[in-house]
């Protein structure tokens, strides 16, 4: 069993909480639950509506689509984190490869806490804004995702330059 301080140290590694101050994370820690999965046990099934995120306290899991392994995760790794904010069908299954001790945060419980503590929402919004800024800035760099504006300008330039291939 973990203390609240130990849970905060784990939750600090979850990206959606990266902008949330530690003392506010203590409130998230209070609603986080410890669960256990035996080796071979399926924690997440692909296609199910996911509402829970997990942090591996101790153990190991395999993220997979059927037999194809997408990732192998160990201590302190996080999976399914966006499901705690916005439930949607799981894109992959997750199965414990060792007896694993997990910390989970559920969507409904997190929303209740957000309604009660605006600081939790503020930290998450700050993280999401940073994510958007990063994506936008990547779009403006070579190799980044192009914006509608940059695509339009490039097509227009090519057409004017006679490149119609």
């Amino acid at each position: 069993m973990l203390s609240t301080v130990e849970k905060v140290l784990l939750l600090r590694g979850v990206s959606i909480f990266s902008e949330t101050p530690d003392d506010i994370l203590a409130d998230v820690a209070a609603i986080a639950e410890e669960t256990y999965a035996s080796a071979g046990e399926t924690i997440i099934t692909r296609g199910d509506i996911g509402t829970t995120m997990y942090v591996i306290i101790r153990g190991a899991v395999r993220v997979h689509a059927g037999e194809l392994t997408i990732a192998a995760l160990r201590d302190r790794a996080v999976f399914g984190e966006l499901a705690a904010l916005d439930p949607e069908p799981r894109s992959a299954s997750v199965t414990a490869t060792e007896d694993s001790h997990l910390l989970s945060v559920d969507h409904d419980v997190l929303l209740d806490l957000i309604a009660e503590r605006v600081e939790v929402a503020r930290g998450i919004i700050r993280f999401l804004c940073q994510r958007i800024r990063l994506t936008t800035s990547a779009a403006g760099t070579p190799g980044g995702v192009p914006t509608v504006g940059s695509l339009a300008s490039e097509i227009s330039g090519r057409l004017e330059g006679g490149d119609r291939a």
Partner: protein, 248 residues
């Protein structure tokens, strides 16, 4: 309630909120300041004297945090507590800025507050210059060492004439922080001090852990229970090790 009063505004809400400037609960006090700011509160006469007194108290608390941060250090073994103290200092800075906005040009001070919290280095420097120009000399010497970005020891040196602080060895400072009143300090900081005592296996501070188990705050109490188990477990392990050495 305090938040709603800030939204309602008006003279009666301001009067009621201003009377709570030194309410003995940090979270409520923070919200009182935010609500007063939302009501565009300007302090004059007795109200201004009360705000100045609150600034002095915040600065004294800030000086204590700076001294504690220096004594605790920043190595990985105390990282959690060091972060908590840093957060405590940030909150004190924020309270100071809100209090200053009740006495001096609020839009400029609040703009500086936003820039100090989220701005680039240039914007933060500009914000500090704005505060330096607006705030009266008597309060500048109290607030600026806590707001600017000089090293901690330099800040402590500048605060020393008004708020002298004793420097303590790490264990003594941990004992002191674990006894900080949660009226002026976040329970999180106190809990981190108790947690750190256990992490560092400071068996000479078990009395601190014992008294924290009787704290009225549930987070401190819970942390102390875990800390007591951890310290006593280590003690037993060490005793077994000693016994094995003695047998051989």
């Amino acid at each position: 309630m305090v938040r709603i009063m800030g939204r309602i505004g008006g003279p009666r809400a301001i009067e009621a909120l201003a009377a709570q400037l030194r309410v003995p609960d940090q979270k409520t006090r923070d919200q009182v300041l935010v609500s007063l700011s939302a009501c565009n509160y300007r302090a004059f006469g007795a109200g201004a004297a009360e705000v100045k007194r609150s600034i002095e108290l915040e600065a004294n608390h800030g000086a204590r945090i700076v001294a504690a941060s220096l004594d605790i250090g920043g190595d990985t073994s105390v990282e959690t507590l060091a972060r908590a103290l840093h957060l405590e200092l940030e909150r004190t800075q924020d309270r100071l800025l809100l209090l200053l906005s009740f006495l001096f040009d609020p839009s400029a001070i609040l703009q500086a507050r936003r820039q100090l919290a989220t701005g680039s280095q240039d914007k933060r420097s500009f914000a500090l210059e704005v505060i330096d120009n607006l705030v009266s000399n008597d309060l500048k010497s109290v607030a600026m060492p806590l707001l600017d970005e000089s090293p901690l020891d330099e800040r402590l040196r500048r605060l020393a004439p008004r708020f002298p602080q004793a420097r303590l060895p790490r264990a003594a400072r941990l004992r002191e922080i674990a006894h900080w009143a949660t009226e002026s300090t976040s329970p999180w900081t106190v809990a981190c001090a108790v947690y750190t005592i256990a992490e560092l296996r400071l068996t000479e501070l078990t009395d601190v852990i014992d008294s924290a188990q009787a704290s009225l705050d549930p987070l401190i109490r819970e942390t102390a229970v875990f800390a007591a188990a951890r310290v006593s477990f280590v003690s037993e392990a060490e005793q077994s090790e000693l016994a094995a050495v003695n047998r051989s």
